[in-house]
Subunit: 213 residues, 2 copies
DNA sequence: TAGATTGTTAATCGATTAACAATC
DNA sequence: TAGATTGTTAATCGATTAACAATC
């Protein structure tokens, strides 16, 4: 099926397509053309057709795309039908927010554990799970074989925790720390969420807009 | 000074440069060449020189770049010396995490208020500030003139809150909701942090790595 | 001066957009 | 069939990399 290999630029657009298609689906829309979708999303119709064609034609000439089918196809390309086992490391505000806020089950994951290095918070229940002390990580790992780790820890703690997890055999990091994991472990999938980078970019945008008034 | 207009691709790399330069600076490193920096960051030296030259030459031929000066220049390009007044709307886990976790003062902002629509949480103190009820937003706005809003509210609530804020004169959104603000208000700077999009992209990466084993 | 490294131009690469023949 | 819209190729645009003269 896969005609071209999809580039990361294409992959990064898929979740957005998925979102808009979810919306259309929930509104009962059955078919959509690349032109209609392009107007809704602020893209060109050309780009949409190119993107979808990386994975083989989902559309029908003269008709457009079937919303439900396209939605499912994209979900399956992203791998949302998987249930990769995830642990959160770091149960500060951010870790807690991620644990309680994200719907992992619809995004290809299953949260199976939360860890912290503070004795004072271990045992607290979040999302029906006790916060475990980090010292129990190895035993937990061997018993439950998590696939990926969500790092909600500060910069300083990241190198050591990352090393431990890699040694244990972790298969990916969703990384909220400022530490640049991808440089250290190029073979392991890393998706970074650098909030402070985003905030600085935002600052630039606001500054620009203010200056051009 | 600005030779070319810097593209968004360049701007989005600046916070990362800023981070690495902070680190070098704290280690007491005085000068750095584009080659050294490229090795540390996993970029090409060419790209680094091109990037910096969008804003006029900070370097010295045969020597390299002065770490402190470069750090300051980039900070000032990003506008980190500003103190844009920010309010958080939505005091759930995510809003609280952002409020307590982010160092706004070093990123060009100052947090001046937190709002929520739940009576039950108003009055709670976060970062020395009481959570205010959303009904007091207009009065607060007129008194304190916030520059930007940080939206930590669900998809459904976003359109209405965004409209109210735009009508009051907000100058930018750091948007954590899934709602696509930029389509509705193309003239207002928006920086999106779509965590669930990021999680889905992560899912794809993990899936790919698993398949290629 | 000689060596190093920038600033900058030119070449390459990749991503986006435009155009249109294929076909439902 | 005629109209619509895809899939796909070609053209354009932008971003990255390579090369090298300028110069500290």
């Amino acid at each position: 099926m896969a005609r071209h290999d999809a580039s990361m630029s294409v992959i990064k657009r898929l979740p957005r397509y998925y979102r808009f298609l979810s919306d259309l689906k929930s509104k009962g829309v059955v078919r959509v053309s690349s032109r209609e979708l392009s107007e809704k999303m602020g893209l060109t119709a050309s780009q949409i057709r190119q993107d979808f064609n990386c994975f083989g034609g989902f559309g029908q000439q003269g008709y457009g795309y079937n919303v439900t089918q396209l939605h499912e196809e994209i979900g399956s390309i992203l791998g949302l039908n998987f249930r990769f086992k995830a642990i959160i490391v770091g149960a500060g505000n951010l870790g807690r927010a991620i644990a309680t806020h994200m719907s992992f089950e619809h995004r290809g994951f299953k949260l199976i554990g939360i860890f912290d290095n503070k004795e004072s918070v271990t045992g607290q229940i979040i999302k029906g799970m006790p916060i475990r002390h980090i010292s129990g990580l190895e035993d937990f790992f061997n018993e439950n074989k998590p696939d990926v780790a969500i790092l909600c820890i500060p910069y300083n703690a990241a190198p050591e925790v990352a090393k431990q997890l890699v040694d244990l055999g972790i298969k990916g990091f969703w990384n909220f720390s400022h530490y640049d994991l991808a440089l250290q472990y190029p073979q392991i999938p890393v998706e970074n969420v650098h909030l402070s980078d985003s905030l600085m970019t935002f600052c630039y945008k606001v500054k620009q807009a203010t200056e051009n008034e």
